[in-house]
Structure formats: structure tokens, C-alpha cells
Amino acid sequence: MPAEKFLAGCFSVGEFLMNTDAPVKIEAELLVIGYGNSLRRDDGVGPRVAEAVEELHLPGVRTLTCQLLTPEFADPIARARRVIFVDAEIVQGSEFKVPGSGIPNPEPATLNREPIRWRKLEPGETSQLMAHSADPRTMLALARDVFGHAPEAWWLTIPALHLGFGTDYSPEAEAGFHAAIVKIKELAGKFCGGHANKCKAVGNLRAVEKPVLS
């Protein structure tokens, strides 16, 4: 039996569920989502950027941090006018040694690139929603198809050279962190009323590291 027919007669959450056809209420001019594993050195730079942006209290800007992009993020994404996804990007030849794995370190990376990459994103509805994590394009497609609005979006990636266990960052990731903050402030200033550039300067990447538990 086709799924549409199978599901047709049995589903009605009725009054309890938000109207799927209601217009989306925009709650943020700019949403910054930083994702990655904060215990895998450079992979944690995305969440760290989002935390630093949060500390700036930019008007109209909201932030989210997470280890993985998961389906429920489609809801806040749909309620933003614009979204920046901030992620670490593995550079070819990165040190990717897992302690105890016996996997040798590859040759050191040869870098010839900008501290950040900046790409426009479009919804990617054909992307597989893998496991519990998703590509940002998939999240945009989910936001559009399920919650009714896919915001204008960009993907800001920062080079990741060291992905072993730890909470410190490579010089390249640190440079990318600062470049990312400048870029996000610039965009916030453009789209959120021009207040962003008056905000306080962001702290040093390492200096804001917090212990796991106190």
C-alpha cells in the first residue's frame, strides 16, 4: 500500500499540533549555529565561535551550539531570516591520529588557503539524513518542507588540522576563529541594524576555555 494512503486515515494530532500551513514567525534576523566536538581540538572551533558571538550580545542575533546537526534544529532555523552554519573543515593531510589506534600520522599539511571559507547554501532535499547528524543543506530542506521556511544561509568553515583529543586549537584554527568573528560581525552589522560593530571585542580563543567541571 502506498505510504500516503497508509498514513492518510490514521494521523491527526489535531488541535495540539502547530498548524503546518501557518506562516512562520521570524524570531531572529541572524542565527549562528556552531557545531562540532569540543573535545576533538580543532573540531570544537565551530561551537566556540557561536559561544563567542553569544558573548557579544549582537542585536537581532541568536546562537546555537551543538555537537551534531539533528532534525529538531529545523524549527529554529525556519524561524530565522538568515543562518550561518560554522563548522571545522578537515584539511587534506591533517593530523588525524586516534590515540591507541595504531594509525600513523600522515604527512604534515601544506596550507595555502584563507583562514575561513565562506559559501552560500541552498536546501539539499535529496541529501540523506544520516544517523543523528545532517548536512546543513539537509537542515535547510527540512526547515522548508516541515516548518515552511528556508532562510538565506551560508556555510562558514575553518581549517581543522588537529583532531586528536584535547581542547586546544592549532594556529590555523585560531586564526580562522578570529576571522569568523569579524565576518559574522560584518554580516550582523549589515542585516541587524548596524549596531554590531560597536560591540566589545571578542576574547582570545584559548583564554575563554572553561574546565569541564568545577
Partner: protein, 476 residues
Amino acid sequence: MAKRIVIDPVTRIEGHAKISIFMDDAGNVADAEFHVVEFRGFEKFCEGRPYSEMPGITQRICGICPVSHTLASAKAGDAIMAVSIPPAADKLRRLLNLGQFVQSHALSFFHLSAPDFLLGWDTPPAQRNVFGIIAANKELARAGIRLRQFGQEIIEILGGKKVHPAWAVPGGVRSNLSAEGRARIKAWLPEAYATTNVALELWKKIMKSHGREIQIFGNFPSLFMGLVTPDGSWEHHGGKLRFTDSSGSIIADQIDVANYKDYIGEAVQNTSYLKSPYYLPLGCPEGIYRVGPLARLNVAEQMGVPKADEELKKFKKLGRGAVTSSFLYHYARLIEILASLEYIERYMDDPELSSDYLRADAGINSLHGVGASEAPRGTLFHDYTVDCDGLLKSVNLIVATGQNNLAMNQTVAQIARHYIKGGNGQIPEPMLNRVEHGIRCYDPCLSCSTHAVGQMPLHVQMIAPDGRVLDEKMRG
């Protein structure tokens, strides 16, 4: 000539795995193995760290079930301090765990598993996903996302963030439930109930049309293990261990989690980083047992809340003694969501969750501590040995996916036997999709079980008795 089939990778589960199907000389399936080929080694590198850091460190094992690790770890810390935590802290930890059950089970049912049984087993993998569900019924897709969001919201309200909240600590928790948080949870409950009831109705239709899957997706006798209360009710954070067999008889009961090593042995395969725990008195592999929703509902005599108790009665009628089909893990998950909502609702009227007395304080009073908690996928053990300064000398983690390892092997073999009879040395496409789902019934989290990182693609190999790979398929 005997052959071997290997499936690698398995999609829509966490981590990276490979499936080998071993063929006999007649071209029939002799056996199957589920291998996990990634390694992270939290047990080793945590040595030397203070035990008090462990709730924060071990929750990084996984981005999906950090709550389970932080709670089991905090419990092990309680045991090292030899304290009884304040009643409010115990209730708040339970509320956090219930939020975790809702979000994890909702993800498993609506997003990872429903595309298979709603869109059809033979739909191409590129279409057999949540976008297929959206195309078929947008409201269902949205309800599923929002149900998971509700569970995540509880975690964020209590822990301050959805993933890796540094909130549960040895001796208690860091903060209580705010009035605003209580109001947000209460306001969302009616929608969460409505979605769960619809999913249960939907599941009953699915069961009517999936008799064959119930018969062949991991339907075999085994033991079952889970935590229960002193009166044998469903338990998720606290209580004692109970083992039952496939006739439903209790074979070991009210076992203190600190004594788990008297009942659970750990076997290893040289082809996998996944450990294979077994019921020690029966040895391996005869001591095969299952954990998780199916097992918890088999070992529990009642859920302790009315709506879920009604569903439990219907569930138990599906088996003679125990319910033995792993396809019914999905039904068990929905019943556990319903029970979780009922317990959450009870807590919303409990003033103790606003208490400020949240932490017991003590030094090192025991050099060994075991904490156990029910994670959505099954019972999770954290076992720590410390020195007099509280620095870890050894760490042993037993996670749900490992405990289901032997059962997953049997499930793959059972499905493969149904689809390969005197085969031609090639992997049949219909079998591939169903083997994937057979694994997915257990909702395995390979990040936890091997402390591995990353997504889980699928690699299947068909292997002859002489070790030759006759056929292989890759996905993801």
C-alpha cells in the same frame, strides 16, 4: 563451497560497522557477525583523571546519549563518595533521563526506522529517509521532530544545554527546575501525548501488515535484562537488575548493580571493537541476553503509570512468556515514550523539584564505585576504581549496544537465512535492506559501544569457507 557476505556500512545508526555473512558449502547462511571497526578508548585514556570529572568527560562519548553517560557516571561517583543523594536531586536526574528517553526514542522511531516500514523495504535508500516521510505525511514528520524537540527541551531546561550538559555531578545535581521551565514542559505535554497516541495507533496498523518481519527480524529465544523496582516495576534510574528467560521466568532478580560482574562476563571478538557481554552463569554464547526497550518491558511486571500499563498488557500478549521478536523493539519504544510522559507529568506537580538542597558532600569513602542507569538503548554500567586522591586507576564501561551484540549477530543471520537459500554467491538487494533494518531495530549507538566517532555507513561481504570474498556491497 561455503561463502561469506559482508555488509558495510549500515546507514542511519551511529558509528561505523561492517556485517559479514558466512556461507556453508551448500550456499546457505552458516553464521553472521556484526563488526565495529572504529576505536576511541575512553576506558584507557580516562585513567589518571579525577573521578569527579567523569560525568563531564564520559558524556562526550556520544552526542546523542550524553545524558545516559553523565547519569551513570554521577551514580558511580555517588558510590565512591558513599552518599545518598538528596531526594530532589534523584527526582531531577530522573526527569532528565525521561527527557532523554523521549528524544532518543522519537528519533529512532520517526526518523531512523519509520522510513523503512512506512515507505517500503525496497524503496531506494536515497528516498527511504525523512524526506520520504515528509512527502507522504508532512504532519507526521513534523510531529516526530517536535516530539524529539520536547525531550531535548527538558534536557536544556535542566542542564542549560541540549548536548553535554555539565549538570549531574557526584553527590547530586547543580540546579533545580525553574518555575519557567516547569511551565514550558507542562505546556508542551498535551502535544507530546497526542503525537505518541497517534504513533501507537500507526504502529498497530504496521504490525498487522508486517507479520513476516515480526517472525524473522530477530525472533529467537534469549535472556533479557533490565533494572526493576523492588516490586518488579519498570525502572530507568535506580533499582536492581533482573534477568528473565524467553519463557518469561525470572532467573536472577534484585541484583545490586555493584555485583554485576558476578552475572555478566565480557567476551571479545578479534574482528570487532564491540565487546560481547553475556550472562556469566550460562557462558558465551549460551548466555546471550538482550537489553533496551524490548528487554525492559519483558522484565517489568508493570510500568507504574496507568496509560503505559494498559499498553504493556497488550504488548505482553504478543509473546508466549517473553516477547521475543526484535522487530517489536519499535513498539516497546513507543510504550516507553508514553510511560516517560506520564512520569514527567507527575513531576510537574511535585514541589520538591524546586528544592535548593541538591548536593550531598563527601570525600573519598570507597575506592570502587559502580553506577548503572537505563539508557534508551539499554542498561549502562560505569565501573570506576580510584586511589586515595580520587584519581582513576581503572574504568570499565558496559553499554547497551555491546550487550545486544550477540543478538544483533543472530538477527542478521536469521534475516539472511530467509533470503539466501542455495544462493549464487551474490548479495540479494531485498536482503540488504532488511538486514540494515534488523540492526536498526536495536537502534545501536556505535559511538557509545566502541567509544567511536562518526557516522555509520554500511559494508556487507559474502565470504566463502576458505575466506574468499564472493560479493560485497557498500552504502553511505
